[in-house]
């Protein structure tokens, strides 16, 4: 059973539909107790860092997430903002502490003195740092869909599984650490390649 964390913000239906389409049992976790019968956890997200981490905290998810993700080691996927809140700190609308699962900070993409647009909306070629079962059947530099203005800057290069280039910026596109995998891009919006990645996530044995 895939459990999608519903902290009361944004569009969960696409993520739900994508797992459902792949034939997986999937449920929306509205309260922390809903994690009990899950074996995979997904933290989706659109919106701002501050609201996201506040809502996760207000809804009592932090301890339960820690129990299931860190202690029990359930395979976990963060998507977009769901990846960013796994950082130690975020700098959107003030400085805010994240879940701290990755030694990293979330900062605004630098577009000063360029003609780059923010948010960056659209398809970009994702460069896989090394071969990993999560990218099985997905060739390097495949296009995935992104929409964001902030990105995760990692202190440990070994956490980075994929990047993409936005002007001069080398942007973290995916991170991995033990049982935690997270993508800045939206697999649930990236057509066949995205569905392939989600199906790899289900099969993944961290």
């Amino acid at each position: 059973m895939v459990g999608i964390v519903d902290y009361g913000m944004g569009n969960l239906l696409s993520v739900y539909n994508a797992f459902d389409y792949l034939g997986e049992d999937v449920k929306i976790c509205k309260v922390p107790e809903d994690f009990e019968d899950t074996d995979h956890i997904v933290i989706p997200g659109v919106g701002a860092f501050k609201d996201c981490i506040n809502l996760i905290s207000e809804n009592g998810f932090i301890d339960k997430l820690h129990e299931h993700v860190i202690n029990k080691g359930k395979p976990t996927l963060g998507i977009c903002l769901g990846m960013q809140v796994m950082a130690k700190k975020g700098y959107e609308f003030g400085v805010h502490d994240g879940l701290g699962w990755f030694d990293s900070e979330v900062k605004k993409i630098d577009v000063i003195n360029t003609d780059l647009k923010l948010p960056n909306i659209g398809w970009n070629e994702i460069n896989q740092t090394y071969d990993h079962p999560l990218f099985d059947g997905i060739s390097n530099m495949t296009d995935f869909y992104l929409v964001h203005s902030y990105f995760m800057q990692c202190n440990n290069q070994s956490d980075i599984l994929a990047t993409y280039q936005y002007g001069q910026n080398n942007i973290t596109a995916a991170v991995i650490k033990n049982n935690i995998f997270a993508t800045q891009f939206h697999p649930e919006k990236s057509q066949d390649s995205g569905l392939k990645l989600l199906s790899n996530f289900i099969k993944w044995n961290p």
């Binding site: 239906l13 539909n17 701002a48 647009k117 948010p119 960056n120 659209g122 970009n124 002007g167």
Partner: protein, 260 residues
């Protein structure tokens, strides 16, 4: 730069034979409405042809009930279509945003409501993120050959010049702009490259331009001359055998950085 985007625009309205059902239509200059089919099955065709995103606009949203009809269509689409969906037409409140987002929309397009209440842009951007708020700008020249923004499906002239309004919308927190030339709509005579270019230069958020695509070259011009981040088209994809794959490779071969 992200890859530039090609976006089929699906215009909807309540069917003439059943006002509880939204059907796909094409228009000319926001008029001459022709009903051409079912939006859900057409979306699947666009998915198979690897379009980059889809835009759904209800062009005839007279009563409140139609937001729920629109939400129902999007909910059906999102069960099988896994690409970004922009949805609009008759959106006037944060509740409308939430309803459409909960039914699978990724971005919400607002037009008339943004003009009458620009704070809606700001509040929606704060609540759902600016990436979620697409301000749709319909424009044409008036009898004195000056450009103006129009609302309510082209019926009401506003006092805004499109470039001026684009800058205001950006300042209020819009994450993207969708430009439509009313006089080019459905005419297949090419995009309005002047306004596309002026707006793209003026703002630092992505600009989608639409209205007038009749040839692959029109799309290429929208990117190369208009400097748009995306080109959307309705009639072009609805009316002919011309399919997306073919158009895509013609545009790609003209040197535009789109997905292959």
């Amino acid at each position: 730069m992200s890859k530039l985007r090609l976006i089929p625009k699906l215009q909807l309205k309540p069917a003439s034979y059943n006002s509880n059902k939204l059907v796909l239509v094409v228009t000319k200059q926001f008029d001459n409405i022709i009903e051409i089919g079912d939006p859900v099955s057409q979306s699947k065709i666009f998915q198979d042809q690897v379009s980059d995103e889809l835009i759904f606009i209800n062009i005839d949203s007279k009563n409140r009930q139609e937001i729920s009809l629109l939400a129902k269509i999007i909910s059906e689409v999102s069960e099988e279509i896994f690409m970004p969906l922009t949805v609009g037409g008759g959106v006037t409140s944060i509740e409308d945003f939430r309803l459409l987002l909960n039914n699978g929309a990724d971005k919400i397009s607002i037009n008339s409501a943004a003009i009458s209440n620009p704070d809606l842009i700001r509040i929606a951007a704060e609540k759902f993120g600016s990436q979620c708020v697409v301000v749709s700008i319909d424009y044409k020249k008036d009898e004195n050959n000056k450009y103006f923004v129009y609302t309510n499906g082209g019926l009401n002239k506003t006092s805004y010049d499109p470039i001026e309004w684009a800058l205001i919308a950006q300042r209020y927190g819009a994450g993207e702009l969708l430009l439509t030339s009313i006089s080019h709509d459905g005419m297949k005579n090419g995009l309005d490259l002047y306004i596309t270019n002026e707006v793209s230069k003026a703002v630092n958020i992505p600009v989608i331009t639409s209205g007038g695509c009749g040839l692959a070259k029109d799309f290429s011009d929208g990117f190369k001359i208009g400097k748009a981040s995306a080109v959307a088209a309705g009639s072009f994809f609805a009316h002919r055998d011309q399919n997306f794959m073919q158009t895509r490779s013609q545009i790609y071969n003209s040197g535009v950085n789109i997905r292959k």
